[in-house]
Amino acid sequence: MTSSNGAHDAHGAPGTTADNADHPQGGGAPNPPQAPVAQPGESLAREAWRRLRHNRAAMASLILLVLMTIICIAGPWFLPWDLAEVDWNAFGVAPTLEGQHWLGTDANGRDLLTRTLYGGRVSLSVALVATLVSLVIGVLYGAISGYMGGRVDNLMMRFVDIMYSLPFMFLVILLMVVFGRNIFLIYAAIGAVEWLDMARIVRGQTLSLKRREFIEAAHALGVRDSKIVTRHLIPNSIGPVIIYVTLTVPKVILLESFLSFLGLGVQEPLTSWGVLISEGTSNMQGAPWMLIVPAAFLAVTLFCLNFLGDGLRDALDPRTR
């Protein structure tokens, strides 16, 4: 009875003690045995990867995502049709395996598979670049705010509050109006409004990290503030940041599609999944495949990203051990 209680304790305890327990930093000295599966001296990244590999849904999603990316990048090279090429013999043809248009054509006779893959390039690259922009701004802003503390922190977080109270659509549209409808600026505009949560998360991390001994040691050694932020604070708050990034990617893809759906995204002849879905919606009754094909690509990608994000969170969160 006692031993079973003990086992129960050991199982329930990480939820409360993990906050105080240090993560193993790098491959340093062997740690006292804590989690049943953790190997001594294993780095956080290695351990997370090992745990992620055991998550079948997350691994399947990862493979699917890699495949999706490869298909979107390389696919158009192997297809006989071009992005804006019109097949004068096939307007609004349904998907068929016999003809040349496996996923049908749109109302203008353009091959839907080709267009969907091109759209995927845009959607996926928006996801990558916009997430990167929001990551850089958010991490730097949050780390500086948390590290400086006091009045600077107050001021910087007040600014974040103000940004939160502005309607999101207003900001995005305004940025696009000011900078014009350039595709790179869409990336930047989305990134520039998505960094708020990231900044808050990193600030919270920094606030708790900066009281720790290794930061004090860096101070004592005379390391410059800027170096402490970039070399010590940011790398050590990477766990929650990665988790949040995996949540940001699907959000950004969705946002780009949403903007494109409203006619504010990329412009003809370039396309994205959002544009294709919007076109599909208006042709829904006569040509349902025009909606279903891009929507399916989008949904599969978002599904995989979410599964992968959940898996990463479980793998990185010490409390779920």
């Binding site: 939820g15 007040r158 509050d161 502005l166 659509m169 549209i173 109006v177 699907p250 599609s257 949904a299």
Partner: protein
């Protein structure tokens, strides 16, 4: 409690002032103006129009005039919707958005919370996977895909419900847009509820409750549910403000006269006063919602008190 509310509202005023000022000048910095349409206006007429709306004055003057009017509750006339003041537009559209959004949130809570609790109680079972898979579907398939598909299926193919239109808020017209709005919220709330319920069920006070011999139902209803709802509560503040100010996509797909479209159209048309109206309206709502959420916190978590 009352003094806490007063303090919070007083703190919100500078934030709102900055938001209003920033959006006023940002909007004016953006290239283009409210009167460059497809048809080029003769210069005299344009000058007259500019004078009529005081757009010929220096920007700081315009700003002061706008703020002065705002303090008297006057949002000014809309540039694009002639003969309508911004107050009229919001007063006409908001009840529609409020009804849709309110019903959608109610539906989301009614379905999302039980879904999350059930999944948490049956963690890692088939029920859990089924519920969370469905929830993930609600997140992965955006509402601008779900809404047209629902309209096609229930409206066109089955003919059970009208495809669009407001019709004075008749129930059949409400069903599709409310469900389309709610799906994503149901998914978010269910996932959040599951995560926090799992955490709460692992905490010491639940073990104590079980140890003193309460049956499972009492443990859940009396002890676990309220603290587990805290994350959902803090999510709801901004979420409600966002949803009751309308969804441009849902309004566009179902042809509804809400205020969601003004956020987009106002900015695109450089309808300065309309944009400012929506920004102010949204900002006030966000402040109020966050305040209400913080006050509700003390109901859900006895550790939080707002006495002085």
């Amino acid at each position: 409690m009352l003094s806490y509310i007063a303090k919070r509202l007083a703190m919100a005023i500078p934030t709102l002032l900055i938001v209003i000022t920033a959006s006023f000048f940002l909007m004016r910095v953006a290239p283009g103006g409210p009167f460059d349409g497809e048809r080029q206006l003769p210069p005299e007429i344009e000058a007259n129009l500019m004078a009529a709306y005081h757009l010929d004055e220096p920007l700081p003057m315009q700003y002061l005039r706008y703020m002065g009017n705002l303090f008297q509750g006057d949002f000014g006339p809309s540039f694009k919707y002639k003969d309508f003041s911004v107050t009229d537009l919001i007063a006409q559209g908001f009840p529609v958005s409020l009804e849709l959004g309110g019903l959608a949130i109610a539906l989301a809570l009614l379905l999302g919370i039980p879904m999350g609790v059930m999944a948490a109680l049956k963690r890692n079972s088939t029920v859990d996977y089924l519920l969370m898979g469905t929830a993930l579907g609600g997140i992965a398939v955006p509402n601008f895909v779900i809404a047209p598909l629902m309209a096609l299926f229930f409206g066109v193919i089955l003919g059970w419900l009208p495809v669009g239109g407001w019709n004075g808020g008749a129930l059949p017209n409400l069903v599709l847009p409310v469900v389309a709005l709610a799906i994503q919220q149901i998914a978010y709330i269910a996932r959040m509820m599951r995560a926090s319920m799992i955490e709460v069920l692992g905490s010491h006070f639940i073990r104590t409750a079980r140890a003193k011999g309460l049956n499972e139902r009492q443990v859940i209803w009396r002890h676990a549910l309220r603290p587990a709802m805290l994350p959902v509560l803090s999510y709801l503040g901004p979420a409600i403000a966002g949803i009751i100010t309308g969804s441009v996509v849902i309004e566009q797909i179902f042809g509804l006269p809400g205020i969601g479209r003004y956020f987009v159209q106002g900015a695109l048309n450089r309808d300065y006063t309309l944009v400012m109206g929506t920004v102010v309206f949204y900002g006030v709502l966000i402040v109020l919602m966050n305040l209400i959420v913080d006050l509700l916190y003390s109901l859900f978590d006895p550790q939080i008190r707002y006495d002085d």
